[in-house]
């Protein structure tokens, strides 16, 4: 609780300081958020934002203390929290209709040398752990996104090659497009607990197929003529010298344990014309996470599942001030093979996830979006619905948003519309 109050105090102090309210990258380049973020809608990147990321966050002036902070205040109204709680035991009545400080992050982000840069996020989750009564109301701080890069760019009037390496802790977090697994779900939230159990952040998104903690991964990538992108990498348990990349998340350690090294790959075709940009890409990963339900020990090879994901994603952007339009679509197949310790085979699954989203922003101030999600499966898995959102950015680093999430199907819930939720949030960064 003390750390929570300190974080809020720091955040409010900074926001009220009257100084130019710019996060670390903006201070480094002297640019506003909208240079890198489409219509100022962080974290969705513009073409320039993608180049800034791929060149290792090294454009601009190195800052002595490249620190930013971010916080989210939110309030959620779930339509029938008691009904949902009876079916899912997610303690959904708690915090319903109440404003909460949900999550806050500290970033160490920016240029280190002309070739080296970093994006390091440590996050405080105000509802991370259960109290004695089983309600998730105990705050906790842990490693979040970490991306250390070395990058170079070879340019001539006829060729442009960006290449580099990323040491990161989350498959696809190194990707520059926001249809990637780590970035399409973009509004930070304390998810899956209390009244937030069925907000947009908890609805089906394409992912690595892994859950729990963060991992240690090294990827290499190349972007040729701003057209062809390829990335390959290997991930393993963040242990030894890489254990800081999962600090605070190892409770229990099995949550973040993978067997051996696990490959990740990504290819994309990118094209700009007039005021438009389009990308079509493929991605996939094969991994072996610990079977949390049936595993017997970390050293037993039969205690690990096999997870294979592969998908196609596409993004269209129209950027011409004052208009910003984005259309995104992702389709992914996830196949899980049960571990050798899962005699029942209940761990086997084959799931398809589709998500589409369209957004429009005017003058980098007024925005709206509409999303559709669909996860295949039997009654216990199938989830389908929509999220509509309107938001307003009074300052470039403050967003006030209202999300409406409705369900036609919701994994194992008899009356899915009881989980329909309205969420008001204030998201600020400095």
């Amino acid at each position: 609780m003390v750390s929570k109050n300190i974080f809020i105090w720091i955040l409010l102090s900074l926001l009220c300081s009257g100084a130019r309210a710019l996060p670390a990258f903006a201070n480094q380049t002297g640019q506003s958020c909208l240079a890198c973020h489409a219509g100022g809608q962080y974290p969705e990147l513009t073409s320039y934002g993608r180049i800034f990321k791929l060149t290792g966050y090294t454009i601009g002036e190195k800052k002595t203390i490249p620190i930013s902070v971010m916080g989210v205040l939110g309030a959620t109204h779930m339509r029938q929290p008691n009904s949902i709680n009876d079916q899912s035991a997610l303690n959904t009545p708690i915090n319903n209709n109440k404003p909460n400080f949900e999550t806050g992050s500290v970033f160490f982000a920016g240029k280190v040398t002309d070739n080296v840069g970093a994006f390091v996020q440590v996050t405080y989750d105000n509802y991370a752990a259960p109290d004695a009564a089983g309600n998730n109301v105990v705050g906790h701080t842990a490693a979040d996104t970490m991306d250390f890069r070395w990058a170079d760019q070879i340019v001539s009037p006829t060729r442009d090659l960006i290449y580099g390496f990323s040491l990161n802790n989350n498959p696809s977090v190194s990707d520059p497009w926001n249809t990637s697994w780590a970035w399409m779900n973009y509004v930070p939230a304390t998810a899956g607990k209390g009244a937030n159990a069925h907000i947009d952040a908890t609805t089906p998104y394409a992912g690595s197929g892994l859950s729990g903690g963060h991992y240690g991964g090294l990827t290499s990538y190349a972007f040729l003529n701003k057209t062809y992108y390829a990335e390959v990498g290997l991930y393993q348990t963040a242990k030894g010298v890489l254990s800081f990349m999962n600090a605070g998340n190892t409770d229990p350690i099995q949550n973040a344990t993978l067997s051996s090294t696990n490959p990740y790959w990504r290819v994309a075709y990118n094209k700009d014309w007039n005021a438009s940009n389009m990308m079509v890409g493929l991605s996939g990963m094969a991994s072996h996470p610990y079977d949390l339900n049936n595993g017997v020990s970390l050293s037993n090879p039969l205690s690990y599942q096999s997870v294979k994901v592969r998908g196609i994603d596409s993004q269209y952007q129209y950027l011409l001030d004052p208009h910003t339009i984005t259309v995104q679509a992702v389709y992914q197949n996830q196949v899980v093979l049960a571990s050798g310790m899962d005699a029942s085979g209940l761990g086997n699954s084959n799931t398809n996830i589709f998500r589409g989203k369209a957004s429009y922003i005017y003058m980098a101030k007024y925005g709206s979006s509409l999303a559709y999600f669909n996860q295949s499966g039997d009654f216990s898995m199938a989830t389908q619905g929509n999220t509509a959102e309107v938001f307003y950015m009074p300052l470039q680093n403050v967003r006030v948003g209202l999300q409406f999430t409705t369900f036609n199907k919701l994994a194992g819930i008899v009356n899915p519309s009881d989980a329909n939720s309205v969420r008001l949030y204030v998201w600020a960064a400095y």
């Binding site: 903006a26 380049t29 002297g30 640019q31 506003s32 909208l34 240079a35 073409s47 320039y48 180049i51 800034f52 060149t55 090294t58 454009i59 601009g60 002036e61 190195k62 280190v112 040398t113 002309d114 070739n115 080296v116 250390f148 070395w150 170079d152 760019q153 070879i154 340019v155 001539s156 009037p157 006829t158 060729r159 442009d160 390496f165 040491l167 240690g216 090294l218 701003k226 290997l234 393993q236 030894g240 010298v241 890489l242 090294t261 700009d272 014309w273 007039n274 005021a275 438009s276 940009n277 950027l319 011409l320 001030d321 004052p322 980098a364 470039q396």
Partner: protein, 209 residues
């Protein structure tokens, strides 16, 4: 120690020990970096490695008049231009550059070959007429008087030939509807141009070689 860690540590060590390669730097406040390097490593992110930007959000700079580019970099840095992207994107990019770097950046882009990427295939006769002759009854000056018959520009008057139509139209709106670019006579020139006429001029210019 397994192979994965060895590879990771080797790369990290190589990266941290890497010397700054002056012709690959993306620094914007280092007077030792050549303007050509800044043009290739930073400006090219939006304006294209050969000055032919792919996105109409950003102007093509290939073949652009050197004096014009330098004057605009000065206007960005001094906040004399206050249209949104000038103030929120370009001001930060240009404020750390010295005069030599600005001149070198401008010369790099002037030396590049302009390419025409216009997809417009409609009638350009009205736009051509306004560009070359103006509209006398409404005191609209001929654009060619300053920008040249071939729209190649001269000195501080920019090259317009082959520029993105969307970019041209956006700037015409800035001239006509705002006070964000007070350093040009374009506010007066555009005052009596209709929306359709501005679009026709932009169409014509975008198709010029």
């Amino acid at each position: 120690m397994n192979k994965f860690l060895i590879i990771a540590i080797s790369i990290a060590a190589s990266a941290l020990s890497a010397c700054t390669v002056a012709d690959r730097s993306r620094a914007l406040n280092n007077p030792n970096i050549e303007g050509k390097t800044i043009a290739q490593q930073v400006c090219s992110s939006c304006h294209g490695e050969d000055g032919n930007s792919r996105s109409a959000q950003y102007p093509k700079l290939a073949g652009q008049q050197t004096a014009y580019v330098v004057s605009q970099l000065n206007n960005f840095a001094s906040h004399a231009r206050t249209d949104r992207l000038a103030l929120e994107v370009m001001a930060g990019m240009s404020s750390g550059l010295n005069e030599k770097q600005k001149q070198e950046i401008a010369e790099y882009f002037y030396q590049q070959t302009p390419s025409n990427t216009s997809l417009y295939s409609g009638d350009t006769s009205l736009g051509k007429q306004i560009y070359n002759l103006g509209i006398q009854e409404r005191s609209v000056m001929a654009c060619a008087a300053c920008h040249g018959e071939l729209a190649q520009g001269q000195q501080i008057f920019p090259r317009l030939a082959g520029q993105h139509k969307e970019y041209l139209l956006k700037q015409l709106h800035v001239f006509k509807n705002t006070h964000a670019r007070p350093d040009t006579p374009m506010a007066m020139v555009t005052q009596n141009l209709s929306e359709k006429e501005m679009e026709q001029v932009a169409n014509y210019l975008s198709t010029m070689k």
